[in-house]
């Protein structure tokens, strides 16, 4: 019975979705997108227009986005919080070769992530991709060595400072050019297609990269390492 309802619902949804999309003819950019395309390079000197849109034109949205990501990570950490007195599960330790190899690979992967987010305004890539790469380096470390403790204090400090600096850069734009996160006059815009160009764009994308990297790392840490799903909760459950 439920399955029939599900199928009917899906058919209705498929019908509406098919009616929604303009099959066949490609769409043209709207007025705002036309402005981004024709004026984006003059206004921001960033070669990558997607980066210009994310970090400058819609920079406020990105600030909200990293906040949402932080909230979801914090929510996962709250839901999976470790009970007091339950010690970390001790697995069979990994071999020496695996641990040493992971530690050797850690620094190059982090540097690669930093490369991706520093060049976000020149080539494909940016803070989100670079942050994911940094988080994958941390994941390697956590998987190779179960007993590894991340420096939580340092990570929290870094994350807070990065968020604070983001808001400060935005406020600098507000003071100097009259709008939050404005790119005009805060820093010299530089020459198009050079590393030191784009005004505040590389700075903000580096901040976003650090923030996403630390957030995804603490997410992985929470998921991997909250001890065993404790039996202390069985008293609430009852039916098991």
């Amino acid at each position: 019975m439920k399955q029939i309802f599900a199928i009917i619902l899906l058919l209705i949804m498929g019908w509406f979705l098919l009616g929604l999309v303009p099959l066949g003819q490609p769409t043209e950019p709207g007025v705002v997108a036309q402005h981004y395309i024709s004026q984006g390079v003059q206004e921001n000197r960033g070669a990558n227009l997607v980066t210009s849109v994310i970090v400058n034109y819609r920079g406020f949205d990105t600030l909200g986005e990293v906040t949402v990501l932080f909230l979801s990570v914090a929510g996962a950490g709250f839901v999976l919080r470790r009970r007091e007195g339950i010690e970390r599960r001790v697995n069979r330790p990994s071999s020496e070769i695996l641990q040493t190899g992971a530690r050797m690979l850690f620094a190059p992967i982090v540097i690669f992530g930093a490369y991706i987010f520093v060049h976000g305004h020149l080539s494909p890539g940016g803070g989100f991709q670079g942050g994911a790469v940094v988080a994958s380096a941390v994941m390697l470390l956590l998987l190779a060595d179960r007993g590894h403790h991340l420096p939580h204090g340092f990570m929290h400090w870094l994350e807070s400072m990065v968020g604070f600096t983001y808001v400060m850069v935005g406020l600098a734009g507000l003071v100097i050019a009259g709008s939050f996160l404005s790119n005009q006059g805060v820093l010299p815009l530089g020459t198009w297609n050079r590393l030191f160009s784009g005004g505040v764009i590389p700075i903000i994308y580096t901040l976003v990269g650090l923030k996403v990297g630390t957030e995804l790392s603490s997410l992985l840490d929470t998921m991997i390492d909250t001890g065993r799903p404790d039996h202390a909760d069985n008293s609430e459950g009852g039916t098991s």
């Binding site: 439920k2 899906l10 498929g14 979705l17 769409t27 950019p29 395309i37 839901v79």
Partner: protein, 122 residues
């Protein structure tokens, strides 16, 4: 089917992905399977939004060559791409939160079957 353009193909694939994911989330009884279904819906929506802004005659919005600077009509719309980029990052946050709840529920009842959680109904 005289003109199967790439955009049409991507849009149809995206809609199929959304429907398959929703079907999985509605019909399956395993909590993790439902979360996987939602992940498929997520991917399908990303493909849908990006395909709406795609055009095979234009090039990517990365103006790192002199020849691309002259003619704005040759550049793809960057706005859907920026939207999808945002949506992917939010998507992993949502998925992680759902998985955290699944792990929590499993710790409560030692089961992943949705029917064991009937007492949580309103």
């Amino acid at each position: 089917m005289n003109a199967l353009t790439p955009a049409t193909l991507y849009l149809v694939t995206a809609i199929l992905l959304i429907l398959i994911g929703l079907a999985g989330a509605l019909v399956r009884r395993n909590l993790l399977k439902m979360v996987l279904g939602f992940a498929l819906v997520d991917t399908g929506i990303h493909l849908l939004i990006a395909a709406l802004g795609s055009n095979p005659n234009k090039s990517a919005p990365i103006l790192n060559k002199e020849s691309l600077l002259g003619d704005p009509s040759l550049i793809l719309d960057p706005v859907p791409q920026a939207l999808v980029l945002t949506a992917i990052v939010i998507g992993i946050g949502v998925t992680a939160l759902m998985l955290a709840y699944v792990i929590r529920l499993f710790a409560m009842r030692q089961s992943l079957d949705i029917r064991d959680f009937g007492r949580l109904k309103w």
